[in-house]
């Protein structure tokens, strides 16, 4: 794929990619933008190559997922180093920052907090299936796990999420 063609594809997928990056970065919009930019640059520079084994969306989502993990790791080490240099230790709680950034409706806030209780894999598979409308097979490709494993995470995650949401309903 040529660079111009890739850039066009990314532009078409951009809003979807944004939603996925946000989910991968614990809904921290600043970190999500950093991760998204790094992932786009990785795709456009050819450091990540599309081999045609899946759809472009599945491949780009996989790149975003890996890049977001790296960004979070770098962010954590940078925060620790910064805190060490400033002598006063103040490690920012990303969930608190994410809450401030979210400004979401009450319903979405409930869903976000219920999702936060799930394991990372369960969160990912539910996000891909319910939010992005992917099949479990495609979700497994994005997550780089087997379909059987993805299905298990999906079933357990869905059950746990449904129960948490039912508990949080006003009686």
């Amino acid at each position: 794929m040529e660079r111009a063609e890739l850039e066009r594809e990314l532009e078409i997928l951009h809003t979807e990619c944004w939603g996925w990056a946000l989910a991968c970065c614990r809904r921290d919009s600043e970190l999500a933008e950093d991760a998204l930019q790094s992932a786009y640059l990785r795709v456009l520079s050819g450091r990540a190559r599309f081999d045609g084994r899946s759809s472009v969306r599945t491949w780009v989502f996989g790149v975003i997922r890996v890049t977001a993990m790296e960004e979070q790791r770098h962010r954590r080490s940078w925060t620790i180093r910064k805190a060490r240099l400033e002598t006063t230790i103040h490690v920012e709680d990303p969930s608190a920052r994410a809450d401030a950034n979210a400004e979401s409706s009450e319903q979405s806030a409930t869903l976000i907090s219920a999702m936060a209780r799930l394991s990372p894999r369960q969160k990912e598979v539910l996000q891909l299936v319910f939010y992005h409308g992917m099949t479990i097979e495609d979700a497994a490709k994005v997550m780089n796990i087997s379909i059987g494993s993805a299905r298990t995470h999906y079933e357990r995650g869905k059950k746990a999420l449904a129960l948490t949401l039912a508990d949080s309903r006003p009686r």
């Binding site: 944004w18 640059l41 940078w78 409706s105 979405s108 869903l111 949401l165 309903r169």
Partner: protein, 127 residues
């Protein structure tokens, strides 16, 4: 309490998606955005890593130097031993000239057969 159904879950995710995508930054802005300070700083090398690398290089240098020194010492020692062996084989006692017989004469076996024949020939001459 009844667990939430698939349709309810789907509806909640759809609402969240609608909110998120409405706040999505522009594609061009994301691609060409100025990097956050965290990303600038993450490329800098940690002074601890630099110090650790320096210590490893220093230790390796010391080990190599010690090894070279030890092999040089071993070579010098073997050369001095060779010299000592040569000087011992050439050594002569200061009183060696006082001895009447040489060392080889003392250690040679006595000439028994020739002395018996000498005695018999002397008796025949006397008769």
């Amino acid at each position: 309490m009844n667990p939430t159904s698939d349709d309810e879950l789907r509806a909640q995710f759809e609402a969240l998606r609608h909110e998120d995508l409405g706040r999505a930054p522009d594609f061009g802005d994301v691609l060409h955005r100025t990097r956050s300070p965290e990303r600038h700083h993450r490329r800098q090398l940690d002074p601890l890593w630099i110090a650790a690398a320096a210590v490893i290089v220093l230790a390796a240098g010391i080990v190599v130097r010690e090894g070279l020194q030890r092999s040089a010492d071993r070579a010098a020692k073997s050369a001095s031993l060779d010299e000592g062996a040569t000087s011992i084989s050439r050594w002569r006692s200061p009183t060696a000239s006082l001895l009447r017989t040489s060392g080889s004469g003392v250690l040679a076996p006595p000439r028994i057969l020739s002395s018996i024949l000498d005695g018999a020939s002397n008796a025949a001459v006397q008769h």
